[in-house]
């Protein structure tokens, strides 16, 4: 996941082509980061748009696709955090109790697991996502988010513990899930 060994950037013809390629490369990741942070679809979509607009307006240069991805993750994290701090947040949207169906496969998660995850603080959800879904190592997360490695370790441990507690407290027979954590 190191920036230096990531896939090199290739030249592009036009701004729109550049945007389309970049968008296709990273939209899933950026959206999932925003969703993990914001906890609902409308706010996640708003955040995604702001992050990509900001990228296209500032046009920073990247060493690799991984560098580009790390920039977007960080920008998405900062944007969402900024949104959470806005006392005038206009949309009061309930955290999605369940996400849309249609992508549930063999490993379809139980809705209770989703609910428990969404009850965690956004920063915990982000760390769980980056580590367990994206596969970033702890030191990579620390570098990317400009955090101390020990802080990342502590927060991830807290996130796991809180998720476990949430699952245990869930009344709908979540014991089986909780025991696996």
């Amino acid at each position: 996941m190191s920036e230096e060994i990531g896939q090199p950037m290739k030249p592009v013809d036009s701004l729109e082509t550049a945007f389309s390629e970049l968008y296709e490369r990273h939209i899933d990741t950026v959206y999932r980061v925003c969703y993990a942070m914001m906890g609902n679809r409308p706010d996640a979509e708003d955040a995604v748009q702001s992050v990509f607009v900001k990228l296209m307006r500032s046009r920073p240069s990247f060493r690799s696709v991984e560098h580009e991805k790390a920039w977007l993750i960080t920008a998405a994290r900062n944007h969402c955090r900024d949104e959470h701090r806005r006392w005038w947040r206009k949309k009061v949207v309930k955290l999605d109790a369940g996400m849309p169906d249609g992508r549930q496969g063999v490993h379809a998660p139980r809705e209770d697991m989703t609910d428990c995850l969404l009850r965690l603080p956004p920063r915990h959800r982000l760390l769980l996502y980056l580590h367990y879904y994206e596969g970033y190592k702890l030191h990579e997360i620390a570098d990317m988010l400009g955090m101390n490695l020990n802080t990342v370790k502590t927060r991830l441990r807290d996130a796991r513990r809180r998720l476990k507690l949430e699952l245990e407290e869930d009344e709908d027979g979540q014991g089986a899930v909780a025991r696996r954590i």
Binding site: I27, R32, F52, M56, A70, W88, P100, R180
Partner: protein
């Protein structure tokens, strides 16, 4: 940790194709709006070119005056409402008829977002009289962002810094909000209050239509009837120092009040040069 289960939860957060297409369309529209503004600026260059001779002549005159140092020009752009268009405020000298340009928009949580663009800026200092400001730094890979509401904000820029427009400044009517939110948001319309200045007969047809559609409702807006008048206004004093040490002072005036259907409206305008600010 049951990674597979957790991964499956995050997997469900992946956007579907319709969402992706919608977001992409919106992003391109926002980028297009920006490009259109840039094109407008290019057209204005044509006018500027025709004035080059006049400007050169004026410059020649100025540099021969004893105290005729050139004044740096800065564009102060205000965003009209959350996610709205950017309006570049003209100072009193930049407008053809000498009037100050202002922006006015409905915002239930009064906020003014603006950015300052220019060249060779060494530092920017913002000061408010009543309410608060903070800065959002969108430059480079974002570092820790800690927006704090302050009445005085001073930023210094490195020698090679150029992305002044990537720093957005936000003025927030925090004290006003706190006042309105007292006693369980008792000073918000919708909490036993009705817009007192509401006069249906005086509304335009468009306003009546908006009301009928629910778009013009003041529910959720602050009722400022009892809020001290002098606190409904604020002045954001801006001091810009360039790398040659030249200082430019400007001020954005902000006023928040209810319109006649009770909505909270933000009006902002740039002070005529630094006449009012100079005395501070």
């Amino acid at each position: 940790m049951d990674r597979e289960l957790l991964r499956a939860v995050f997997d469900k957060m992946t956007p579907d194709e319709e969402q992706k297409a919608r977001m992409k369309r919106n992003i391109l529209e926002r980028l297009d709006r920006r490009t259109a503004r840039d094109r407008t600026s290019v057209r204005r260059l044509g006018w500027a070119a025709s004035s080059v001779f006049v400007i050169l002549l004026a410059t020649l005159v100025i540099i021969h005056l004893p105290f005729g140092a050139a004044t740096p020009a800065y564009a102060i752009s205000v965003r009209a409402g959350d996610g709205g268009a950017l309006f570049t405020l003209m100072d009193g000298t930049g407008n053809r008829d000498g009037r100050v340009t202002s922006v006015r928009y409905v915002d239930p949580r009064p906020m003014l977002e603006f950015l300052i663009e220019g060249e060779d800026i060494a530092s920017i200092r913002l000061e408010t009289e009543n309410e608060y400001v903070y800065a959002v730094d969108w430059t480079k890979p974002p570092d820790e962002v800690n927006p704090r509401y302050v009445k005085m904000l001073a930023l210094k820029f490195e020698e090679d810094f150029r992305d002044y427009g990537q720093i957005w400044y936000r003025w927030v009517a925090w004290d006003m909000y706190q006042w309105a939110a007292e006693d369980n948001f008792s000073r918000f319309f919708g909490y036993g209050y009705e817009p007192t200045s509401f006069d249906y007969d005086s509304l335009t047809e468009q306003e009546k239509l908006e009301l009928a559609a629910g778009n013009g409702s003041a529910l959720g807006h602050m009722n400022l009837e009892d809020y001290p008048d002098h606190l409904k206004e604020d002045v954001i004093a801006i001091t810009i120092t360039d790398r040659q040490g030249r200082v430019t002072k400007q001020a954005i005036h902000v006023r928040v009040d209810n319109n006649r259907i009770g909505q909270t409206v933000v009006t902002a305008w740039l002070a005529d040069n630094d006449d009012e600010y100079a005395g501070q």
